[in-house]
Symmetry: C2
Subunit: 247 residues, 2 copies
C-alpha cells in the first residue's frame, strides 16, 4: 500500500509520500511515489501516485515522453490550467488500465491507480486534485484543504484538527509528517523514507524538497517529541468521578 | 457504519461503541451496539456488534431466547469457557446470514456482521474475541491487547501509542473515548452517543457503565482538553532549519 497527501494553504502547498511498494515478509521494496516537474519562472507541477505501480510508472513515462515531444497535442508545458493536467493524467491512467484489463481480470488483479495532481502555473492559484482510478477528478475544498490517496484513514484525524487555509507552510509540513508517521506506526504496508516537497505561493524557483529516512535527525526528533507530547496531553485528560474520590 | 472496541488489560476490560446506524442525510438513526449479560458472582459477558443490523439483532434475540430456555443445548450460562461463546455467536451469525443469502444477493446487499465477544467467567481470565462475519474468531494478543470492529483505522494510532497490558483501567477507558472521538470527528458515519462499560478483573457485580452524549460534561471536557493538548504538542514540534535562521 501507499499513503500520499497534499495540503493547499494560503501560503502554498505541501506534498508528502511514503515509499513502500510491497510489504510482504520476504520482500520489502521501496520506490518513490512523488514526481516533480519544475519549470523556473513558469510552472511547478507535482504528481503523487498510489495503486498499481505498473500503471503509475507508465503514466509518468508518458508524461515525460510528451514533454520531450514538441509536437505533442498536449503536455505539462502546454496546459493553460492545472485542471487540464488532472484531466490528462486521468486519460493516461485509463488508457493504460484498459490496455491490460483483460489480462488483469484473468489473474484476478487490478491495474487501478489513483493520483494527486497539484501545482501552480504562473499567474494562477495553487491547486490540488485527486484523480480517481476511473479518470475523473475532484479539487480540494477550502473547508478541507487537503487530499489523500492510499491508506488515508490513520492519518486523517490530525489533519482534521490542525489544517486550515491560514495554517503556515511549516505547520502544514509538520502536520504532513505527523500524519505519515501515525500511518507508518499503525500499518506495516506504509513505510519510510518519506518524501516531502514544499511549494511557496508564487515561488517558481522550485520547492523545498527533502527525504526523511528512519535515521534522519529531524524526523527522529519529530517522532519523539510528538509521542511525548501526545502522552503528556493524554495524562492531562479529565479524571473519572471515582478517581477523584480515591485521591 | 460503526466503530466498536474492546481493550483487555491486566486490571480488567473496557468496551466502547458508537450508536450511529444510518448516516444518510435525511435519516440519522441511533441504536445501541452494546449488549451486556451480567450474572453477579458468576459471569459477565459483553457483546459489541457491527455490520447488518438485521443480522446482529437476530443474533442477540436468539442469545436472549436461549438464556430463557433451560433446555437449550447451549446458552451464555452453560458456557464453560468464553471461546465457546465466541463460537456460538459465530454460528448464530452464520445461520442468520445463510437464511437471507439468496434474497440479499438479489438486492446486491450484504447481511454480514462482525462481533466483539468479551467477558469473564468466574475463576477464569478476562478474554476478548473478534468474531468474523464468516463465524470464525480470533483472540486479542498480549502485544496488541485490543480489538476493533467497523471503522477501525481513524482511532487506531492512539491505541497503538497508549495501550499496553499494564495500562490502568481508567487510562484504557479515556483512550477508548479519545479513539472514538477521533473517529467521530473524521467520519460522519460514526456518531454519538458513546456507550462504555468497564469490567474490573474478578468483580462480578456488574461493570461501571455510562452513556456519553454530545452534551455530557465529562465527554465535552475530555474532547476540549484532548484537542488543546494535541495542539500544544503540535506547537512544540521541532522547527525546520530555515525557521531557526529566521528567528
Amino acid at each position: 500500500m501507499t499513503y500520499c497527501l497534499a495540503i493547499n494553504v494560503n501560503k502554498g502547498m505541501v506534498f508528502a509520500s511514503d515509499s513502500r511498494t510491497n510489504a510482504g515478509v520476504d520482500y520489502v521494496a521501496s520506490h518513490s511515489k512523488m514526481f516533480n516537474f519544475i519549470y523556473p519562472n513558469n510552472r511547478s507541477i507535482y504528481i503523487l501516485t498510489s495503486g498499481s505501480l505498473a500503471t503509475s510508472q507508465s503514466v509518468i513515462n508518458r508524461i515525460t515522453t510528451d514533454l520531450e515531444d514538441t509536437e505533442a497535442s498536449f503536455n505539462l508545458l502546454k496546459a493553460k490550467h492545472l485542471h487540464e493536467v488532472a484531466d490528462y493524467v486521468g486519460e493516461l491512467s485509463q488508457a493504460q488500465q484498459t490496455k491490460y484489463e483483460g489480462a488483469m481480470k484473468k489473474s484476478n488483479m487490478s491495474a487501478e491507480s489513483s493520483f494527486i495532481v497539484g501545482g501552480q502555473i504562473k499567474g494562477q492559484d495553487c491547486e490540488i486534485f485527486h484523480v480517481y482510478p476511473q479518470g475523473n477528478y475532484i479539487k480540494a475544498s477550502i473547508e478541507t484543504p487537503y487530499l489523500q490517496i492510499g491508506e488515508n484513514k490513520y492519518g486523517k484525524p490530525i489533519l482534521d484538527r490542525i489544517i486550515a487555509p491560514n495554517t503556515t507552510l511549516e505547520d502544514a509540513a509538520r502536520c504532513a509528517l505527523v500524519s505519515l508517521d501515525s500511518t507508518i506506526r499503525s500499518n506495516i504496508s506504509v513505510g519510510p523514507p518519506i518524501e516531502m516537497a514544499i511549494h511557496t505561493y508564487n515561488d517558481f524557483d522550485g520547492p523545498y524538497y527533502n527525504t526523511y529516512s528512519v535515521n534522519s535527525t529531524f524526523y527522529k526528533s519529530l517522532q519523539k517529541q510528538w509521542n511525548e507530547g501526545l502522552k503528556r496531553a493524554f495524562k492531562r485528560l479529565p479524571r473519572f468521578e471515582w478517581e477523584k474520590e480515591k485521591s
